[in-house]
Amino acid sequence: MNTIAVVGASLAGLRAVETLRHEGFTGRLVLVGAEPHLPYDRPPLSKELLAGEWEHDRTVLRKQPYDDLDLELRLGTAATGLDLATQELALAGGTKVAFDGLVIATGSTPRTLPSIPALDGVFTLRTIDDCLAIRQRLDMGARVVVIGAGFIGSEVASTCRKRGLEVTVLEALPQPMVRGVGTRIGARLAAIQVEEGVDLRLGVSFEAVEGDVRVERIRLGDGSTIPCDVLIVAIGVVPETRWLETCGLVLDDGVVCDETLHAAPGVVAAGDLCRWPNALFDGEVMRLEHWTNAAEQGVFAARSLLRRAAGDEVEGFAPVPFVWSDQYGVKIQCAGRFGPSDDLEITHGELDSRQFVALFGRRGRLVGALAFSRARQLMQYRKMISERASLRDALAHARASG
């Protein structure tokens, strides 16, 4: 391969270019990013950066010089199209980049609702520019409303409380973070949010955003209104695949890949938009929006691209999914894959406390673990999940380690 193009200059794209060089690729390496910034870390955008505890220079992802990577950087330039037959990438402004190998890592973009008008004070949170714009409003002492009590919405609300701001969280589902953690843990999170002074409205329907030029109030389905200076819409993300719609790759809520993360010969995907079968979970087709996944897939996809091109055998990507969230002083960590129908056992503490581990079993196998401020134990269970341990062995481990 002479030229490899990596589209997407965030965590997955950066880890991919670093790995390509580390693995000895000496050809032309083009890194394309829609944002004008060098790759930066997104988790602090809902936490330390939004809180005003950090400045943006602390979010830089790569501390070593970029010169070492010998990249052709195309920042502030979105990819607009892909031609697989001619192996050409189209970029905003009309330039083309011919490639032999391609890494697709354009991530995801916040979901919005068509019923929400583009009033001043209405935000989504994905980029560093979004974060700094919201922070400026928080500095002025805003009344904040967050739509969506998922990971991002809950962290934003936590940061607002830390800053002493009034915050109302609206969630259509009966518990916060329920898709990620299930109803029992979700109920515990709801209780913590209320204890911390969040005005948490669960199971509510949102009717309208009202205001003249600026957002002024939110109207709910029952006719009640909530005064609001800053509205943050945090109702999830959609994979950023608009530029791939006509290229012939299979898209289905993401880029559909095989177990080696190949979407087509010479084309791999990594990060939020990658959908692939995970052999560790009986080939369940997954798409993960987590930091660790973007980092691991960026590395794996780069190696997979080089090895397949060299005619080498490539093993499947089969990790234990891992995600964490810091809110209200609690470190929430989830490992594995679990859902509402799995068996649930609480260990290392009590469910009504702020320190415990929940283990999830399916047909006798340990498939997931969730911890509140029990990082040490969580990592041990993450390893047991990768070893296909039984729930019984995990519970025995819990009893033995106290």
């Binding site: 880890r15 980092a295 691991e296 964490w324 810091d326 960590q333 990082a375 969580l378």
Partner: protein
């Protein structure tokens, strides 16, 4: 090779411990302890993996 941890950034996710438990340890007090600040050269690949996978980018390597 010397391991440097930015403890202002470290939030004790224990990912490093999952990768290299004989070098990094998060204890029950929820603090990270570096068991070997200057690990032997044959641990380099493992330590580099821990640096790469740290969710808060708190670990770096000197030398």
């Amino acid at each position: 090779m010397k391991i440097v941890v930015d403890f202002e950034k470290c939030t004790s996710n224990a990912v490093c411990m999952g990768i290299a438990p004989d070098i990094f340890e998060v204890r029950d007090d929820n603090f990270l302890y570096v068991l070997q600040e200057e690990p032997p050269e044959d641990k380099r690949a493992l330590v580099e993996e821990a640096v790469r996978m740290c969710p808060t980018q708190a670990i770096s390597l000197e030398g």
